[in-house]
């Protein structure tokens, strides 16, 4: 009798389980991110020099930056991407409409990408506790003086309409990165940081996708 009862309960459970209606399905959507700037009306993007604030670096920032940005933009944008060595003396020039109108006269569908850069570095030292073991130093000493190289990149980025000379979009970035490797060069660190800037800038300007979850219902 007891065994029969167990069978019956099991049967009811199986009936209910197999008759489970499966009413809803979770679905992951890749939804477009709204862009802060509508770049679709421009056919040409000209990457101009960036104004260097207090440049004490031992490598040329502008050629490296322009080449990097033009290569990345060409991959993601179906537009004419070019560079232009426009001499910039001061930051006020970005608000000078006539200046920019004169840089690409007669071109309606062109936008300039430019801005200012301040790239600095400093070495910081501190007393630290036990260091991490490394293969060439399995018995690190306690309480020793360690130093790190810090690089800081500040960028103001402007999109300027070549036809009107107006700034149509501006944004700021401030990236700092520390390196344990004392041999890390400023140039290589610059690329690490400008890569992060590029990710954020492109998301703002070109958009992208974010994953969201929704429910689909059948009944």
């Amino acid at each position: 009798m007891k065994r029969n009862r167990i069978f019956l309960i099991l049967l009811i459970f199986l009936v209910l389980y197999s008759c489970k209606t499966g009413n809803y399905w979770k679905i992951k959507l890749e939804l477009p991110v709204k862009t802060s700037l509508d770049i679709s009306r421009f056919k040409n993007i000209v990457i101009a020099n960036f104004f260097l604030i207090d440049d004490k670096n031992d490598f040329e920032i502008n050629p490296a930056l322009l080449e990097y940005l033009s290569s990345e933009l060409s991959q993601d944008l179906d537009k004419n991407i070019s560079t232009n060595n426009i001499a910039l003396d001061n930051e006020e020039l970005f608000q000078n409409k006539d200046f920019w109108k004169g840089q690409a006269p007669g071109e309606d569908a062109t936008a300039f990408l430019t801005g200012s850069i301040e790239y600095t570095s400093e070495t910081r030292k501190a007393l630290i506790g036990k260091s991490k073991k490394q293969f060439d130093n399995p018995f690190p000493s306690k309480n020793r003086l360690a130093s790190r190289k810090f690089y800081n990149l500040k960028m103001n980025v402007y999109f300027i309409n070549a036809a009107t000379g107006e700034v149509i979009y501006e944004t700021k970035f401030n990236e700092t990165q520390a390196y344990e490797n004392p041999n890390q060069t400023a140039e290589f660190a610059f690329f690490d940081q400008v890569h992060k800037v590029k990710e954020k800038l492109f998301r703002q300007v070109l958009g992208g996708e974010r994953i969201q979850q929704r429910y689909l219902i059948s009944k």
């Binding site: 065994r3 029969n4 069978f7 049967l11 199986l14 009936v15 197999s18 008759c19 209606t21 499966g22 809803y24 399905w25 679905i27 959507l29 890749e30 939804l31 477009p32 991110v33 709204k34 802060s36 974010r210 969201q212 979850q213 929704r214 429910y215 689909l216 219902i217 059948s218 009944k219």
Partner: protein, 122 residues
Amino acid sequence: MNKLSTFTVFSFLLLSVLFSGCASQLQQNQMQFGIKSAQKDLWNEAIFRWKKSIRSASDSAAAHNNLGVAYEKKGMIEEAEKEYKIALKLDPDNEHIQSNYTKFKKYWKESEKTEEEKDEKK
């Protein structure tokens, strides 16, 4: 009940339940096909099927909800909001529709708000 008959009855019931009793769940219909299409990222087909569902059953909260999701995916925000609202009106207690609409508002409306704030600052 002896062993053999218990076993026989149990097996028969189990098999009949598993293979026949709930077979209706396996039937393809417009809603199910739309969901299958959506899962395969075929949103045009999903919209087509759910619109058909609505034409034959305009009070289907599920179809309106699903259409809202599809419009959201395609970036048709106004249409999506309209469908979510209809779905909620038809089935206000449905937690899944509620969840969808809440998330919809949070994602799209907040980003609009941020834009408005930026414009005001300018």
